[in-house]
Symmetry: C2
Subunit: 434 residues, 2 copies
Amino acid sequence: MTTKPAIGFCGLGAMGFGMATHLVSQSYPVTGYDVYAPTLSRFASAGGTPSSSLSESAKDKAFYICMVATAAQAEQALFGTDGIVAALPQNAVLYLTSTVPSSYAQSVSKKLEDIGRSDVYFIDAPVSGGAIRAANGTLSIMAGASGAAFEKGKWLLDELTAPGKLFIVDGGVGAGSNMKMVHQVLAAIHIISVSEAFGFAAGLGLNGKEVRDHVIGGKAWSFMFENRSVRTLAEDYFPGASAVTIILKDTGIITSMANLVDFPVPLCATAEQLYITGLNKDYGANDDAGLVRLWTTEPVASIQSSRSDDEKKAKLELVSDLLIGIHLVAAAEGVSFAKHLGVSLGQYYELCVEAAGGSAVFKEQAPKMIDILEGKQNEGEASLKSYRDALKAVVTEARNQRIPLHLGNGALSLMEQAGKEGDFTSLLKLYSVE
Amino acid sequence: MTTKPAIGFCGLGAMGFGMATHLVSQSYPVTGYDVYAPTLSRFASAGGTPSSSLSESAKDKAFYICMVATAAQAEQALFGTDGIVAALPQNAVLYLTSTVPSSYAQSVSKKLEDIGRSDVYFIDAPVSGGAIRAANGTLSIMAGASGAAFEKGKWLLDELTAPGKLFIVDGGVGAGSNMKMVHQVLAAIHIISVSEAFGFAAGLGLNGKEVRDHVIGGKAWSFMFENRSVRTLAEDYFPGASAVTIILKDTGIITSMANLVDFPVPLCATAEQLYITGLNKDYGANDDAGLVRLWTTEPVASIQSSRSDDEKKAKLELVSDLLIGIHLVAAAEGVSFAKHLGVSLGQYYELCVEAAGGSAVFKEQAPKMIDILEGKQNEGEASLKSYRDALKAVVTEARNQRIPLHLGNGALSLMEQAGKEGDFTSLLKLYSVE
């Protein structure tokens, strides 16, 4: 029997716990640390070795994964008193899998050098896919590092990812975080669109279960809708699996970077205001699926519809059209920002389409957008008219029923800006700032 | 002593009551009707003649003013059972001073013809200026009608307006409502920007009175800020002077028309979602100044700032910069929509600058925008850079302090869309759809 290498881990939240226990299930000895003691007991029950301090979790570990929530937490965990880096052995591989600004990931490299620990192989490796895929070892990971670091440490990323879902991003440390950020453009918009869709449906008197059945498998599908709607229907928000504070943090990384480089991200900015509104209503620690409460306090799974089947079908179509319109503009915003930042669009597509940012619209239409941005002949139909007309009907119904559609109206305004004869090219031009 | 002509009036709300009692003060015999009985008693105390029915209020009145809230109410009052039109004498002048879609004003003309009452001189004459100017007879009025109707009925509009504030709009019936609608683009955005500014200031720990003192008279001034902030500071929302439902109705006229003609009005659409959100929080009947409660429940006049004078001054500048950025994009949205609808831009400017849509930014910068839209040589400095940089600082501070800025972010996104070297021309191009 081969002895597998010991792994240090800190940050046993929804994602980190899944990742760490997956490694345990693969017979790795994993020593885990978290500030929240009950999590450590759960981790011990799952076969992990709980640690009482960061330095202890890092001692003698040639491989260490840091999966805390924010850059500020990472800074403290890595370099603070009794922290990880000081305790790591020479030539250890350190993985930062949190979603952080690329500039922060780069600052870690620099700091390692500054404090005389350039022996540490640092890999910038944010993840995507949600808690279930974390626990199954089938995440998507986008990683940036030196060739030497990958040579020594790529194997562990393979353990955490599904086949073909480890994306080695060109550009070294920071490139992984950059890719994650542009992926999160889709995630940030899609997550709140789930609540907006259920809020709209509730205002139309539709039962949430019927909404889910209608959306799943159709053109309005998104990973986030399929994933979050389970918790929306169950009102499983306390704490649920993914807190509002997490996506708010990720969205802030996007909008801050966009401001820095003077790039417009109108739908992300709209999403951010809704996350902040949720935070201010004390929903911050709750699951982001609970943001449907910005629209309705009635449990959406309990709504009794008195509509005829035909009426119901027509209204369900409106809900789908809302999501489709939002997803289309989200795709344009995502690919355009990726292009602006010099991210490989082919890799971006390949990554997003099966990660948490995926949607049916993205899968079908993003390739056309990428062709346009790369100056290739665009073969496919790419008029906005059908999308715009459908979204206008949605927005009109919402206006009549007094249901706020922040993203729906934002997406429609952009389609209107693209002009009466607007197509994907004119939509993308709205993001082509120089 | 000359006997002045008798005037019929219906709709004695905040505006209508002021208009009707102003006419009473000018020695006109005014017979007024309202569905709300206590208002009729107040009207009698002010020297008016209360009427117990619409038809009675219209009987023998050669001049009749209808100032109800909505097109639906107007339709009922004019043509419903026991309504106004049937009771009007031959060749009466009928003024519709409510804010309604231009298509509705045109439908009134048509209906008068259809029912054999084309003898009635109909004047489409929406007003602007607020309750105080209504009561002083110093409103702005934008009127469309036939030459014959104006010949017979213009004098009464003169009585209600300040010198130079009666705008006869080319295009006949509907043209007045059209002008009012594009004026309301500014009003709709400015009204909610007052609450967003006070909400932002509250989040920064600034006292509302100091905010008002800082804004009034400076570059961040708007009519709406000066007017609404009195009620914001006094929490005079119940019912206050201008209900959320009124500006929501006006905003819906704008966004519906924009959808109809495929024109983007992103800031108006953002404003509309906030009005709907307020309505859903049961603020509909309250004054629109009370929408500051979407940001904070603390009375803004009671906030005790612990900041140093220098800090306070810097934060107050941020509040002003927020308003200035919003007002600039509002001006672009207003003049662009006016242009798109074929409204005279010179008249639009002249009207708005001293009506409820006025702002210091509009006064200074709209002429440059109009020159650009009219293809004239633009002499003035018209870079967006200083506006964009200032608004970026605002949005960054709001992000850090977790304060939602729906309009501020919307305005910034548009400035970013205008490009790094963006100027007024590139901002206006965002609205130049074909």
